[in-house]
């Protein structure tokens, strides 16, 4: 049996890095993934989420551009490698803890996923691209 992107058994996710954190979006909301040289200009997702650069010593490459579906339009975002596709079983998906759900001011932070990859488990922040901020929180930089 082949799993559709969204089934009762879980979700297919596209995982990537932004500002040193592991983030994810539903695979069904991803339109394209391109190299930075061949994709339209895009605002860094880390900037939209008010995250610090991954490391001050080695700045993130933001070598990838991810195009996500946002309602009727598509939006390009600069993200960091590595990018991978992974199925997350339902048991690996968690709602935001109550304090986070109440105090988090970024609406696109939707859920959390606890995933195993390369013999290690780690947390991914599941983002809803439909609710991404229009502008960078700190700089107010508009969407490119």
């Amino acid at each position: 049996m082949t799993l559709s992107p969204t089934t009762s058994a879980g979700l297919d996710l596209v995982l990537f890095h932004a500002g040193g954190l592991t983030c994810a979006v539903e695979a069904s909301l991803v339109v394209a993934l391109r190299d930075a040289r061949t994709a339209p200009p895009a605002i860094a997702l880390a900037e939209l989420l008010d995250l610090a650069p991954a490391s001050p010593i080695a700045p993130p490459s933001q070598a990838r551009r991810l195009c996500v579906r946002q309602g009727h339009r598509e939006r390009w975002l600069a993200i960091d490698e590595p990018v991978r596709h992974q199925h997350a079983p339902a048991a690996a998906l968690y709602p935001l803890p109550p304090l986070v759900a109440t105090r988090c001011r970024i609406r696109c932070v939707r859920a959390l996923a606890w995933l195993r990859a390369h013999d290690a488990e780690s947390l991914a922040i599941l983002l809803d691209p439909r609710h991404l901020p229009e502008r960078a929180i700190r700089s107010g930089k508009p969407l490119v």
Binding site: L49, D50, Y94, P97, L99, V100, R103, V109, W114, L123
Partner: protein, 179 residues
């Protein structure tokens, strides 16, 4: 050294021994009629605080905390605890106290109050003790405004004042805080 000296020392030592036994006996006397409260005593910075034991489900060692974008600095992030994702609050930020750099003494109290549960970052856990309710005094009026609402009492532990906190109020206030 004379025999008299030896006897005198023996007598002093015996007297000291009796005094210690008496002190221990006095300390061991508990009025069974006096209700006691279990408290989890901890430090944040240089200050001592306590929560009622009924509010604390578990004392956890320091663990990896994953920050969540969009949360205030006082909401440090989340951790994975045996199949559950739990938020972690920097308790010092809520009590106007600075935290020490995390080390092996740093701990996370898993607290439950106001219908929710969350981790609470503390600098070290000092004791879990039973205290007679009569040993807890009302909070002094000189207490800082930020603590007055959260404090339900004060007691002394090794000559240091300890502020007893209400976790229900702490969580309720934190949920309402618009900052």
């Amino acid at each position: 050294m004379t025999q008299t000296d030896t006897d005198q020392l023996a007598e002093i030592l015996a007297r000291r021994h009796r005094t210690e036994l008496d002190a221990d006996a006095d300390a061991a006397i508990v009025d069974v009629e006096t209700p006691t409260t279990q408290l989890v005593l901890f430090a944040v910075g240089d200050s001592l605080f306590a929560f009622p034991g009924t509010s604390i489900l578990e004392i956890l060692p320091w663990a990896r905390i994953y920050p969540i974008p969009g949360c205030p600095p006082s909401l440090e992030g989340v951790l994975h605890l045996r199949g559950e994702i739990v938020s972690v609050v920097r308790l010092g930020d809520l009590l106007d106290r600075g935290h020490a750099e995390p080390d092996r003494k740093t701990a996370i109290l898993l607290g439950q109050g106001a219908g929710l549960r969350s981790g609470l970052h503390v600098d070290r856990v000092l004791d879990v003790l039973e205290l007679a309710s009569t040993g807890i005094q009302p909070p002094p009026t000189t207490l800082a405004e930020s603590l007055r609402r959260l404090a339900t009492g004060v007691f002394h532990y090794r000559d240091q004042p300890v502020i007893l906190l209400d976790l229900d109020r702490l969580f309720t206030d934190y949920l309402r805080d618009p900052s």
